[in-house]
């Protein structure tokens, strides 16, 4: 594939957005709350160590290790990123002494201690690498992997910072305390063996006074795992505080909000593509990182496969670039389906001009690009506004999340769907306070939006609000007048009073409700008109191919790997991959031109759970010999050729290697079949 953009064009607007903006800011912002809590927890735990209070309550829990249970959710693939930024935060705020332990590195306490000491002592070297040659040498020697040597190391390190020159001391103590805690992070708590954890906790609790240790447990499932891993005698040595990270669904919403629902970001995802990405997220892995990677793949794919993606950049640049398009590029634009539709809708002279004159085409393209840009800005504001409404409705006919609404709007004209109809129905039944808050939110959205066309809209919405206000005042006034009326009529007889009151009540209810109802209808109709105006699906727009990536099939092919199906196709239909004309055969029959393994595979598909090797060989030789004609058939009817026998054995062992069959002990000369249909 050819990249249709020069690299210098690719780099600043698009990729900087992605790699830096995405990875750094969003993820850190999301975890900021969590990290802040953790940091303050570490500060507190540390202060208890420092003061060495002899207070009564403190003496009672002298051997408890402060522990943070960090519940991170089941999306294990994202954890690395979280831990990386966590380590950064801790290094900057709390302590340089952090060790990350993984279960696969720690089969025993010894290995765990080795790993721990290795990381801690290296990190010491990293912190100030200038004057520690002697220490590096020590760490090259065989260190005794025991807590005592760790304590000695800690003492020497903290003492060193004490006795350092004032200038040095200032730099180090500005960030950390005199004796910073040692943080040990267990990345995957679930996978650690109980023995290792127990022993480590028992050992470190013995030395908690000499070594201010803090443990962080990275938990993917639920905090109850601590109780199932550790017996009471061990868990009583811990002083656990729970921290919960943001749920991955919220995480996704934020990313979609910051990335897809921004007009400033030129690249857009089409409905199908977005659906594929969201489905993978919700159905399979909950991994935000994979979502981002899928998104990056879309970008690369878009710029590699779509010639007109040249124009996918900020509006100013796009206009400039449109001006300097080559003839070929102009032809590419002319080929776009949406552009053709546009041409057909024009008068004939213009059609000719568009199709023949490059300069005219460029002018039109600039205009259309601007239109597209304006469309995006308006679209997003109105989408958010509609979301305000739909998120208030019971049962959420159009979805609770804005991403669902976005997908619905991208897919087709949303106002023609049943869900939209039912949500309008529901919206017509909203109560006043809800309606007013919604309108206020919409006003805020429109005021803060960058679109220029919304002045009138804001006016109109504000007008609605004042009308509601008036309605309320009128209501109260009427209330007062009614009560005065009541006072007057108190003197008449009971029957009349009752009658008049009933009439009054009825008329009042009827009249007022209609007034409010009318207003409510007006509001809903107005929102409806906004939707019809601005939420036109993107693929109805001319030149939408420039910004939207729509080939979901490519994405699906890349992200939904199906090894079983691929293997099956390769063996069942070798032509698919080998492209050898001889192999092109109709389904069902077994060609003897196919590779041996394919023949063997096809034959084995017809068998049951146990396959008789002799029968199989028989069938194989029949297929192979089929082409050799009747005379060869006669020669080998009773005995199988050695070469064919060898070929068969090789093919069968290849199948075994691929995991389709395995030798069986149940019957001699039989193999067991391992795969059935989809499993």
């Amino acid at each position: 594939a050819t990249v249709y953009l020069p690299l210098k064009v690719l780099s600043p607007p698009v990729f900087s957005h992605l790699s830096i903006f995405l990875h750094m800011h969003i993820l850190e912002d999301l975890n900021k709350q969590l990290f802040d809590n953790l940091v303050s927890f570490l500060r507190r735990s540390h202060s208890e160590f420092q003061e060495k209070t002899t207070e009564w309550t403190c003496r009672m829990k002298s051997k408890e290790i402060p522990t943070a249970a960090l519940v991170l959710g089941v999306n294990v693939t994202d954890h690395d990123l979280t831990f990386r930024s966590l380590s950064e935060v801790l290094q900057n705020n709390i302590t340089p002494y952090i060790a990350f332990l993984e279960a696969k590195d720690c089969p025993g306490v010894k290995k765990l201690m080795q790993k721990l000491m290795g990381q801690l002592m290296n990190c010491y070297v990293d912190v100030d690498s200038s004057e520690d040659e002697d220490y590096v040498q020590v760490s090259h020697n065989r260190i005794r992997c025991s807590m005592t040597s760790l304590i000695n190391w800690y003492e020497s390190v903290t003492k060193k910072t004490d006795s350092e020159t004032p200038s040095k001391k200032r730099t180090s103590s500005s960030r950390h305390w005199q004796s910073p805690p040692v943080v040990v992070v267990f990345k995957d708590m679930e996978s650690f063996s109980t023995k290792v954890l127990q022993d480590f906790i028992v050992i470190s609790s013995q030395h908690i006074h000499e070594l201010p240790l803090v443990l962080i447990f990275g938990i993917a499932t639920s905090p109850m795992i601590i109780h199932s891993l550790l017996p009471h005698s061990v868990s009583s040595l811990l002083c656990i505080e729970l921290f919960q990270s943001l749920s991955c669904k919220d995480h996704l919403s934020t990313i979609i909000d910051k990335l897809l629902l921004r007009a400033s970001f030129p690249f857009k995802l089409g409905e199908k593509v977005l659906q594929v990405l969201i489905n993978i997220f919700l159905y399979h892995d909950f991994s935000v990182q994979n979502f981002v990677k899928g998104f990056q793949l879309c970008i690369v794919e878009h710029f590699c496969s779509q010639p007109v993606s040249v124009l996918c950049c900020q509006l100013v640049d796009a206009k400039k670039r449109a001006d300097s398009l080559s003839h070929d590029q102009c032809e590419n634009i002319r080929k776009l389906p949406s552009f053709r539709r546009y041409v057909e809708s024009q008068v004939s002279e213009k059609q000719i001009a568009l199709l023949t004159e490059d300069t005219y085409l460029k002018e039109t393209t600039q205009k259309l690009l601007e239109d597209l840009h304006v469309y995006h800005e308006n679209y997003l504001s109105v989408l958010r506004c509609l979301h305000v409404f739909t998120s208030f409705l019971p049962k959420y006919p159009l979805g609770k999340q804005i991403r669902e609404l976005h997908c619905a709007c991208l897919e087709n004209q949303v106002w023609e769907t049943e869900e939209y109809e039912s949500s309008l129905q529901l919206a017509r039944m909203l109560n006043k306070s809800d309606l007013v808050t919604m309108l206020q939110q919409c006003v805020e959205i429109f005021v803060s939006s960058s679109g220029k066309e919304f002045d009138n809209t804001v006016e109109k919405l504000k007008e609605f609000l004042t009308q509601f206000q008036k309605l309320e005042e009128a209501f109260q006034e009427q209330d007062v007048s009614v009560s005065s009326q009541k006072e007057l009529q108190k003197k008449t007889d009971l029957y009349h009073l009752q009658k008049t009151l009933l009439e009054l009540k009825e008329s009042r209810r009827y009249k007022k409700l209609t007034k409010f109802e009318m207003l409510r209808f007006d509001v809903v109709d107005y929102i409806d008109s906004l939707v019809r105006n601005y939420l036109v699906p993107a693929n109805h727009k001319t030149l939408h191919e420039i910004a939207y990536f729509n080939t979901a099939s490519v994405l699906r092919e890349h992200l939904n790997a199906a090894p079983r199906i691929a293997l099956h196709t390769a063996l069942n239909n070798p032509y698919r991959y080998l492209k050898n004309q001889e192999l092109k055969s109709d389904e069902g029959s077994i060609s003897n031109k196919a590779p041996d393994i394919c023949i063997v595979y096809k034959l084995h598909l017809e068998c049951g759970r146990l396959i008789n090797l002799v029968d199989w060989l028989e069938a194989f030789s029949t297929v192979v010999m089929a082409a050799e004609g009747p005379n060869a058939d006669a020669a080998s009817s009773d005995q199988v050729d050695d070469i064919i026998h060898a070929r068969f054995i090789r093919a069968v062992s290849e199948l075994e290697l691929l995991g389709f069959i395995k030798p069986s002990k149940q019957k001699t000369d039989h193999v067991a079949r391992l795969t059935w249909g989809g499993c």
């Binding site: 402060p66 089941v74 025991s146 807590m147 005592t148 993917a220 499932t221 729970l242 395995k662 989809g678």
Partner: protein, 424 residues
């Protein structure tokens, strides 16, 4: 209770020692009589056992420290290999009596080296005229080490020909230690559990300075009345005492009751303690922040899983707890008639939930998955990787570690409640 008496030590020290080890006087006096005077040879090895928190470690430590007997104290969990253990003993020995801080690192790989180095160390530290005590805490760990370590420690006196006594502390009985090949039998001493009276005495001793002894003793009395039935662990009781004491004091602090108003105080603390009963041993609330954070760990049992992971887990649960022969009945649309046979009844009597999960092959899991999911599921790599991630999350476990290609078998390790929550 007899007062401690021993001709070798001054009476004042003994009196002090007695105040430090409440309710363990008889054991201490027994130990003292075994130890004899400083220069006298003692029994070569002593084995002390007793239940969790019956004061073994504490009594040994206080005894040796108050009487200033030369000793080495090591925890066998901490020094998990024999090399580390032996080296640690030698290191402590070096710094035991000598004033010089400098302790050079010693290399000691075998017990033979240890005996040699030990002899040297004892001579150089001038400890010949006193009995040296080596205390090995959590001695059950010794069984995990090389076979010669435990028997050699038991007869260290004989091997080194020095005045040394090895004390082993453990929670399990000596019979479980005895090696097949036989060994020197140590003198065994049992530390019985504390009775309720003992617990009362010990807990009351540790009263906070700002309140009177009687007030705190009354509190402990109430506490034991509630918790003694479910928990006799001194440590846990201490934890509970510290945890709930501030609540108990509240009326006094507010001035609503005085310290003698036990009835009022009891009324105040009773519901609180009842609530705490449910979480004994769980340490749901860490002691440091118990009054700041309102929730415990068990409140967060819900696990959010991706759509197909949920179905995979449910399928795994079904495969683990349903017998294979019912699969056809449950998961096939056109199953045959349900035959009522005797052998079925016999099995149905014992609940499968009591028997625990059974292993199942991968293809059975997938077959059940396909039948319980409404729409078609493509067997993509994503599905397979979800199975693996469920294994890493310990929701499934792999049975047997043979080759992956050979049809891996799994077990579902989650409970019915968990599955109910997932299926909702």
């Amino acid at each position: 209770m007899p007062n401690l008496e021993h001709p070798a030590y001054p009476a004042a020290t003994l009196l002090h020692l007695e105040s430090l080890v409440p309710c363990r006087e008889s054991q201490v006096s027994m130990l003292l009589s075994i130890f004899g005077e400083r220069q006298q040879f003692s029994f070569p090895s002593i084995f002390i056992y007793g239940h969790t928190s019956s004061g073994k470690t504490y009594v040994m430590q206080t005894l040796l420290n108050t009487l200033q007997l030369p000793h080495v104290f090591v925890n066998c969990v901490e020094y998990f290999t024999s090399r580390l253990l032996l080296e640690e003993i030698l290191m402590q020995l070096q710094s035991c009596c000598s004033e010089t801080e400098q302790t050079s690192h010693v290399h000691c790989d075998t017990f033979n080296d240890f005996v040699r180095l030990f002899k040297q160390a004892v001579v150089s530290e001038e400890l010949e005229d006193q009995t040296l005590y080596i205390v090995l805490d959590r001695a059950e760990q010794l069984r995990e080490m090389e076979a010669n370590i435990l028997p050699a420690f038991l007869r260290l006196q004989e091997l080194t020909d020095r005045n040394v006594t090895v004390v082993l502390l453990s929670e399990i009985v000596w019979e479980l230690f005895r090696p097949n090949t036989g060994c020197f039998e140590p003198f065994t001493l049992y530390f019985p559990d504390y009775s309720i009276g003992h617990l009362q005495k010990i807990l009351s001793q540790n009263h906070p300075p700002e309140y009177s002894v009687d007030f705190y003793a009354a509190y402990i009395n109430i506490l034991l009345g509630v918790f003694y039935m479910v928990c006799r662990d001194l440590k846990e009781l201490q934890h509970l005492a510290a945890l709930n004491f501030s609540k108990y004091c509240e009326p006094v602090v507010r001035g609503e009751a005085n310290e003698r108003d036990t009835r009022k105080l009891w009324k105040n603390i009773e519901p609180h303690l009842k609530k705490a009963m449910h979480t004994v041993y769980l340490r749901e609330i860490s002691s440091l922040w118990m009054f700041r954070v309102g929730f415990g760990l068990s409140a967060h049992t819900h696990v959010e899983l991706p759509y197909y992971s949920k179905f995979l887990l449910i399928a795994a649960y079904l495969a683990s707890y349903n017998p294979v022969r019912t699969d056809k009945r449950f998961f096939l649309k056109h199953h045959g008639k349900i035959r009522k046979t005797n052998f079925m009844k016999k099995h149905e009597k014992t609940s499968n939930h009591l028997l625990g999960p059974k292993p199942f092959p991968l293809d059975r899991l997938l077959a059940i998955l396909y039948s319980i999911v409404d729409n078609r599921v493509a067997p993509t790599a994503n599905i397979f990787s979800q199975i693996t991630s469920l294994v890493t999350l310990q929701l499934l476990s792999m049975v047997g570690h043979n080759d992956q290609l050979d049809g891996p078998r799994y077990k579902c390790t989650v409970s019915l409640d968990f599955i109910r929550a997932v299926a909702r």
